[in-house]
Symmetry: C2
DNA sequence: CAGCATCCGCTTTGATACTG
DNA sequence: CAGTATCAAAGCGGATGCTG
């Protein structure tokens, strides 16, 4: 008996409200969906396995479901990369990339929770990209470029000035002006300025090089928060 | 994935990721939660029944759950209003109000879906407040104030200039400079400039008064979209 | 191994009924 | 008016199976 297996209907649940927020949530409101978008925004075009690694806790079938839904909605497109990659890459479309301001605003609001986050939360180094976008900017574009090597979780990350702008990428650099390593909460704290450098060192942050490199990257208003804001 | 007990028995599912977006979604990522916040942002302090009316489709137990969770998270507080109101009011705390930029950005992104929304979507007049915030501004604050009476769904709404700023509120005004009434999609279309006024009239929009009143409120860049943008 | 699909126990949601 | 109670259905999380 050969009954056609009913192809999973894309029966996405809708709020059925004539409201643009409701329409947005119809598309990206399900569990895990915005975190999938985060991964694609932070990592760029990614393989399935890398996405799964960047989403600790997700069930693999859910990741497949979300990618299919996002593709159907036009936010994600798959690219069959030719050899030597020879794998499927998932990338944001223009429409998906247009969600970045909204996602960044949500991430900004959530920064207030970071100081009180449990110590056993999972962490990936590239999650530092949003905080860097939110809290850092090159304050002296005329000076020679600087690089900060960060080792917080699994992946080493580099924060570097490029043409007066900041770039955060995975990898290592030969002779960074400053190297930071330690628990994610300490590294995030000193990078954002929410935690004073001395206090972080006292709590176990390791560093090499010139701590003043951070001041080059932190706007004055941010540095103020190190003393007044919540303690990481 | 851990399940954390909050106060009594309600369990809040957490992503357990040291990422501020994940922390945000731990708090407001469940189904209906952001729409509850929308209602509180658009209507101000509200009674339970009014919230339920502004959230067509929500189950009453879910509304109660969400309000409890939001209160616990510190985004919403309840106020026992004394007579003559003699009821409990729900209102956003400062922390909850700080989510407005993020919610507005999500709503902005979703505007692109409005032209193709089903005709039988539910609608409430005060849902026009976000679009007005996003698309309109007083272009001639020196001129005498203007008022637009809008009748799109159940509740009549007024858009009025106040000290060079725009205010949208429920209610009626005596002699508006312009009165618009008709299907939500048509009214939204002409208000945002996504739909040319003549086209809207041709499709059933009713109006009284001076259509040029809208130009007073629409930035030039918005008016351009009326001819080039997608048709509502 | 990458990239899913399937199965199963559990949780959340949705619709309705009911109560102070 | 402002919720709680109940229960079926859908969604989720975890494990495992299949295919190139």
């Amino acid at each position: 008996m050969n009954i056609k297996p009913t192809a999973r209907l894309p029966l996405v649940r809708s709020y059925d409200q004539f409201c643009s927020l409701a329409k947005t949530l119809d598309v990206i409101g399900e569990r895990w969906t915005m975190l999938v978008l985060r991964e694609l925004m932070l990592r760029g075009p990614s393989r399935y396995t890398d996405l799964r690694d960047g989403l600790p806790g997700i069930a693999t079938n859910l990741l497949a479901d979300r990618l299919r839904d996002l593709e159907q909605a036009g936010l994600v497109e798959r690219e069959e990369a030719p050899p030597p990659i020879a794998t499927t890459l998932y990338r944001l479309t223009t429409r998906g990339e247009e969600l970045r301001p909204a996602i960044v605003e949500l991430a900004r609001w959530g920064m207030a929770f970071m100081p009180e986050a449990p110590e056993d939360d999972s962490f990936r180094g590239h999650w530092l990209v949003f905080p860097v976008e939110l809290y850092l900017a090159d304050q002296a574009p005329d000076q020679p470029p600087v690089t900060v090597q960060v080792q917080a979780g699994d992946e080493p990350m580099v924060i570097e000035t490029v043409d007066g702008r900041l770039r955060t990428r995975r990898g290592r650099v030969e002779h960074p002006d400053l190297l930071l390593s330690g628990m994610p909460k300490l590294v995030l704290g000193v990078v954002t300025g929410m935690l004073a450098f001395d206090a972080a060192v006292g709590r176990g942050l390791h560093y090499e090089g010139d701590p003043a490199t951070l001041k080059r990257l932190q706007p004055p208003s941010v540095r103020l928060k190190a003393s007044a804001g919540p303690r990481l």
